[in-house]
């Protein structure tokens, strides 16, 4: 297959993975670009999914492996986009592959180097709650299964090099430039989580028992920093009372962002269920504004949480979280807007802030490289909000997943397939034209 019928997909999360598999399955050459050392994206960080309560990595990992194995997909991980030129059917792309200092073709991912590495730093994959080594794989299911040396923190003791039986460690690696010629591009960069520390009354980063929801996903995950035990972050105590606060930084006008992140009502419910399954004696409270359960099976999911799992829903945005004096537990001040009473919820062991999910801040730079436009919030602008949901303002460049608009996993997957179909359509047109045909 000619290079001109190849596609570049930016972002190796679930949307990028789905678009890659769709296009590769149709016979197109796919280059899947990912900036971190592994594909998998946000979905890989989640413990479970709503409303099916599937183990997230369990349903994602086979797709990641499929990408790795597929003859038509080339993974370009730990790399960044440098330049894009040309038009639909003929984009010239420059990519800079960062040195891993480990040979991808030799490394078996046995991890003996990791065991011996003396340097520990906070793990980005575990939302900095757990530690990783200076030579590391972000997660056990990483694809490609290859170590990466973080040279910023590496002390160059070269123990890893001595231990590696495959002889994969290579400190002499240099950045590598890759030139590609592709016919279409799909953008699937996903989201960043809003840092709620500016909402000072919730004490994020001041109070250790306050976590964001994404942090909690790692915290409670069996492959996470504490092995999936439900513990109080500050002292490892056993929690008895856990509260979620919705709309932290979303649906606002001062902090964060005005839009609704669309998934928090559901994932909070999911996390509440996870908690009740882990420890049925833990009381769970969800402080919500409106319950936005619009998807298939969503309202039933919430009903189940209320009926069968005894999750308490309170309509309120709490005013303040206060640490109880002399204890690590927290007190939440809130206005129960349905009973119109100002109340406190005391002795809360863990507060989870359902922090707004924002389009990635790096979209700005990416859009500049692509010549595409962003909207006011940083989502990729589409040419028609109703009738062209995946077409960016540049012909031949398509968008899917959260970087297009807030959405959950099933919607991201559906949209990835749509973007793949649109890219295939553009490439088919190019092929027809090349054969001398017309439209």
């Amino acid at each position: 297959m000619s290079e001109k019928t190849a596609v570049l997909i930016i972002g190796g999360g679930i949307a990028g993975i789905q678009a890659s598999l769709d296009l590769a399955g149709r016979g197109f050459q796919v280059y899947l670009l990912e900036e971190t050392p592994t594909i998998g994206g946000r979905m890989a960080q989640l413990d479970k999914t709503f409303p099916t309560m599937d183990c997230s990595i369990c349903i994602l990992a086979p797709k990641m492996m499929e990408c790795f194995r597929h003859p038509n997909i080339k993974l370009i991980t730990y790399s960044e986009l440098k330049e894009v030129k040309g038009t639909v059917g003929d984009f010239h792309v420059k990519i800079r592959k960062k040195p891993r200092y480990v040979d991808e073709t030799k490394c078996t991912g046995c991890a003996s180097c990791t065991e011996h590495c003396p340097i520990e730093v906070p793990s980005e994959f575990d939302m900095r709650l757990g530690m990783r080594k200076a030579i590391y794989m972000p997660m056990p299911q990483a694809v490609p299964r290859c170590m990466t040396i973080d040279r910023e923190n590496c002390i160059e003791c070269k123990l890893c090099s001595k231990i590696c039986r495959a002889g994969a460690v290579d400190f002499s690696q240099q950045p590598q430039d890759i030139d590609l010629n592709v016919g279409a591009v799909i953008v699937a960069t996903g989201f960043d989580q809003y840092d709620p520390s500016e909402i000072v009354e919730y004490g994020y980063q001041r109070l250790r028992n306050v976590l964001t929801a994404l942090e909690f996903e790692r915290w409670v995950c069996a492959s996470g920093p504490v092995g999936g035990h439900l513990l109080r972050p500050a002292d490892g105590g056993i929690p008895k009372k856990i509260a979620f606060i919705q709309c932290v930084g979303s649906r606002g006008r001062k902090f964060g962002t005005p839009f609704c992140s669309s998934v928090c009502c559901m994932y909070a419910t999911k996390e509440a269920l996870i908690i009740r399954e882990h420890a049925p004696d833990v009381q769970v409270y969800i402080f919500y504004n409106e319950l936005r359960a619009f998807g298939k099976g969503f309202q039933e999911f919430i009903n189940r949480a209320r009926q069968d799992y005894g999750v308490n829903y309170i309509r309120s945005r709490p005013g303040e979280i206060k640490e109880d004096t002399g204890k690590k537990t927290l007190t939440i001040w809130y206005d129960d807007t349905l009973t119109r009473e100002i109340k406190t919820l005391a002795d809360v062991d863990l507060v989870i802030l359902c922090s707004a999910l924002l389009p990635r801040s790096s979209n700005r730079k990416l859009a500049e490289l692509l010549g595409a436009e962003l909207d006011d919030y940083g989502f990729f602008r589409i040419t028609h909000p109703l009738l062209a949901p995946v077409d960016t303002t540049v012909p031949g460049i398509y968008v899917c997943g959260y970087c297009q608009s807030p959405k959950d996993i099933p919607d991201s997957v559906a949209q990835a397939s749509a973007a793949a179909a649109r890219a295939a359509e553009a490439l088919a047109l190019v092929q027809v034209q090349r054969l001398g045909g017309g439209t």
Binding site: E201, C247, R251, F255, S316, G319, E320, D335, I342
Partner: protein, 541 residues
Amino acid sequence: MSEYEPRIVGFLCNWCGYAGADLAGTSRLSYPTNIRIIRVMCSGRVEPAFILNAFENGADGVLVAGCHPGDCHYRSGNQHAEKRIEKTKKLLDLLGIGSERLRLEWVSASEGEKFASVIKDFTEKLRGKGPSPLVKDLQPVPVQHNATESIHDILKRTKALYCQECGKCSSSCPVTRLDPTYSPRLAVEKALMGLEDAVLTDKGLWSCLTCYLCRQRCPLDIEYDELIRTCRAKAEAKGITGQCSHEGVLFSVSRLMASPETKQNRMDWIPPEAEIAKTGKLMYFVGCLPYFNVVFDDIGVRNIEIAQSMLRVMNAAGIKPVVLEEERCCGHDLSFSGDIASFTRLAKINSATIKKSGVTKIVTTCPECFRTLKLDYPEFLGRRKFEVVHASEFLSELIDNGKIKFAGKIDQKVSYQDPCRLGRHMGVYDLPRKVMTSIPGIELVEMERNRQNSLCCGVSAWMGCGRHSKQMQIERLTEAKDTNAGLLVTACPKCQIHLNCALSERLPVEKEKIAIETCDLSVLVARAMNLTLNSTEMNKK
């Protein structure tokens, strides 16, 4: 002048003064008809506010008559009266009305003749002095955001239409926590339902401290303080007013200053060696400190030290600031209590005075003056040509420029009370802290609630000081005490007044749990520069 007849308001005690007047009448003694008599149960009931109010309403003189010392029917009412009259006389002198227009007399029930002669004498004296300098009928002034703005327009302007009724405001509000009958959320809800009367007649309208905590936390950025301010103006236009603390004496002081003819005598506080200028680039806007110093004399706060310290620091830094006798109250409290007309009058007079002096930069030691001059004057009068900085910013600049030389170490742990006007209203959190910590030896320890989360001192704009205010003050002082600091620094004269007021009262809390010395930021800096005040000279004032 020949047709001028002084108008005298007489507050006569039921048992002596009034009975004396009665005797004068039944004895058919003749005395001038210039007096209008108001009977009170005791001369001790006569608040300074009553007297100022009489002057506001056109009196040329006020007579208070009570029982002779030792004869009070309530043991010591007349002794209280004596103290209050003394205080009020000081205020009248400051306001340029003149203390001789106020007279306290002991007239017993049997002294009909004395009563008649007192009236004769007082009337003659007042005739000699001429009418009160106050303009009696002030012309109405056009005001911004006036009472004609509809509730819907107010909601729109203050962004309250965005309200999601999430209750973050009400669960943050320090008043709602103590008094659940008041809630910012429910107030907005009522307004959103269009229940204008319910909003304006709700006593909660006057409970709000406009401390900005709810606005700080509101995810929708609803300008609740502004909503309250405008609704209060609307309520006042309908004749609904709130409960003013100290019977409104400080509102009277402000309103009396809003009269264009008022000629104050407010410069006595300036130490003899201090240097000030009439014109120049930099002005020190003193605010109401000379008045506070009189009114709050009895709770152990010497507010005027703030002004004296600031002036000494400025002089030591080689600055001779403009300080003007014509300066008036900035109008903050009036604007936040619904009297937008008087506020606008004050703003206009001050703006003209500032313009005439050629000042380009104004330093204030009061965060309310800071907010009002910086935010409200431009909003109500259009863009101003002067820059306004609070003392903390000014002192911090002086420290940066090496103009301040600290004399030595002050080994002390201090804590800091963020004033709501300086902190949440104006976003100044770091500068006062920077000033404090640049003093050698000072260690700053934060209270549990600090910066954006800081707790208000309990009262604002002299509205409704009550049980909840005291409770908040106890909470705040307990927090301060818990830091183990030896000194609580404030950057607002009113925070200092309110916290000290709590300390001077009998409250349901053990004294040692709340007792902490308070000090203004400027005073602390002057102390650290060894510009200590001469106490004998101070006491004369």
